[in-house]
């Protein structure tokens, strides 16, 4: 089934001010995969994700989502199958109440009211945020905002979930809850982050971006254990693979 594939071929993009952000990125993500996009600040992660939902259009090369190349004409279909969770939930939540925000996508798809209502309840339920539905988004805590932002994407029933730094700004507990939540989703997931522990927990495959190019692409377990590769791309081993400093000292003492 070619339905939920995401493919980039020689993707290049420069911002209008001339900053080259992507310099030839290629990959193919199959249906049901969970892929981490890692890289230091400024590596081009956010820029890449904005190409997957058509918020940016390829300068050179192509992006395909499912059966469509991402172009000006296919945007409605592309956006129906790709749900995006932006880095800052404050950018994503703009309606007076959480409920209206979650309904925004389905209403734009011109679904009948009953269907909209059931999607709103279902997606809030799936992020455990049903009790927030009447609250104004700007008054929520960081974790609650993130949950609401994810619900706004889920309510469009996307095949592919694209998330930009979903754990940034969360406290450890909210972060753990979020990881548990995302692990339960069956969508094709594409997660950009420099939270390598989260990528380690959620993604079977990792693509390393460095200065707008793919520096590595392979199984997470081998990539995130490769100290030299990560160091070359301005990243550090996930904490969970760094070994415990206390134990190391004990070992040294022996």
């Amino acid at each position: 089934m070619s339905h939920h594939i995401v493919e980039a071929a020689d993707l290049e993009y420069s911002y209008p001010d001339g900053t080259p952000a992507l310099k030839g990125v290629s990959f193919r993500i199959e249906h049901g995969e969970s892929v981490g996009i890692v890289g230091a600040n400024g590596a081009g992660k956010s820029t890449l994700l904005m190409h997957l939902n058509g918020c940016l259009l390829a300068g050179k090369g192509t992006v395909r989502v499912g059966d469509f190349p991402v172009t000006g004409q296919t945007l409605p279909q592309v956006r129906r199958s790709v749900g995006t969770v932006f880095q800052d939930p404050d950018d994503q939540l703009f309606m007076p109440t959480v409920e209206e925000d979650v309904a925004f996508g389905p209403l734009n798809m011109h679904l009948p009211p009953a269907e909209v209502e059931s999607r709103v309840s279902a997606s809030l339920e799936s992020v455990n945020a049903l009790h927030l539905r009447k609250r104004p988004p700007y008054k929520l805590s960081g974790g609650e905002k993130r949950a609401a932002a994810i619900a706004t994407a889920l309510s469009m029933s996307p095949d592919i979930l694209v998330m930009d730094e979903p754990t940034s700004g969360l406290d450890p507990r909210a972060r753990r809850k979020l990881i548990g939540l995302l692990a339960g989703f069956m969508h094709t997931k594409i997660i950009a982050s420099h939270d390598l522990d989260m990528i380690y927990a959620l993604c079977g495959r990792t693509i390393v971006l460095h200065e707008g190019r793919v520096a590595a692409d392979g199984p997470t377990a081998s990539i995130l254990a490769n100290h030299d590769l990560l160091a070359g791309c301005g990243l550090e081993l996930p904490l969970s693979l760094q070994g415990c400093p206390v134990c190391a000292n004990i070992k040294k003492a022996e």
Binding site: L75, T84, D88, P96, E100, H110, P136, Y138, A153, M156
Partner: protein, 269 residues
């Protein structure tokens, strides 16, 4: 708290007010938007020396204020906040226009002062009408109604983003002034030069954020139309409201209502 903070909180409170159940709130947003538009049209159609003739129009905001159960305090705070703009607009009239327009006994009142007063009156009337519309309907509902009444999609998008900008601007302004205060030597507010640079940063920030919000809207299939969760339903009450207010505005504009009300009062006294 800075003034801009207070304003943003009121923006919230306007939306909060709009979520209560009042007779005005139950009217169709389209009827309210149309009546407000007619009101604005009536107010600006008065000549620049017609002050007394305009006064009966205050009945409209007064009625909405009462029926919509909007606290007058909120309204006044907005009027106060926006008044510098009106003052600026009217400031030079008394200087430029010194010809006597009316004589009150021995006192000759120059036209400039009359037109200044008329600008202030108009300002109060129009701003309160719009604020009351928001407080009894909700910002997004008003936008949706404007869309239904045929406003171009680009305008609706602009209005929605404007709403966001208000929050964003006030948020960032509060954060930046706080950051400055913590670093300035005596903990006083920023001077004029620093203000200029702060304001520049602020606009850049707000622009970036606005465009990210716009991307987020597009990513969820936003095409400029604004389908609403609550379907609009036109009822008899809306027709009555529209006809009643329309009739009143026509009377106020062409029917010498001020004079008649004056006569009536005089008669009663």
């Amino acid at each position: 708290m800075s003034r801009i903070d207070v304003l943003a909180r009121d923006m919230e409170s306007l939306d909060l007010l709009a979520s209560r159940d009042t007779p005005v709130r139950r009217l169709d947003p389209r009827a309210k938007a149309a009546v407000t538009a007619m009101f604005l049209g009536t107010v600006v159609s008065f000549g620049k020396y017609e002050i007394a003739e305009m006064t009966p129009l205050f009945l409209y905001p007064a009625a909405i204020l009462a029926l919509g159960q909007v606290p007058a305090r909120v309204l006044f705070r907005y009027l106060l906040f926006a008044s510098p703009f009106a003052l600026l607009a009217g400031m030079f009239n008394p200087v430029l226009d010194r010809e006597t327009a009316i004589s009150l006994g021995a006192l000759d009142v120059p036209g400039g002062w009359i037109s200044f007063a008329s600008i202030m009156l108009r300002f109060m009337l129009t701003v309160s009408a719009v604020l009351l519309l928001l407080a009894c309907t909700g910002y997004v509902q008003v936008c949706a109604a404007l869309g239904r009444l045929g406003a171009p999609r680009i305008v609706i998008t602009q209005f929605l983003l404007l709403h966001r900008y208000m929050f964003i601007l006030s948020d960032e302004a509060a954060r930046m002034t706080r950051a400055h205060m913590l670093r300035s030597r005596d903990g006083r507010g920023p001077g004029i030069r620093v203000w200029a640079s702060l304001a520049g940063h602020l606009l850049l920030h707000a622009h970036d954020r606005g465009s990210r919000t716009h991307s987020a809207m597009l990513a969820r299939g936003f095409d400029g139309s604004l389908p609403s969760l609550r379907a609009f339903r036109w009822s008899w009450a809306d027709t009555c409201f529209l006809a009643g207010c329309g009739g009143f505005f026509v009377l106020a504009r062409f029917g010498n209502l001020a004079e008649r009300l004056g006569d009536l009062m005089g008669f009663a006294v």
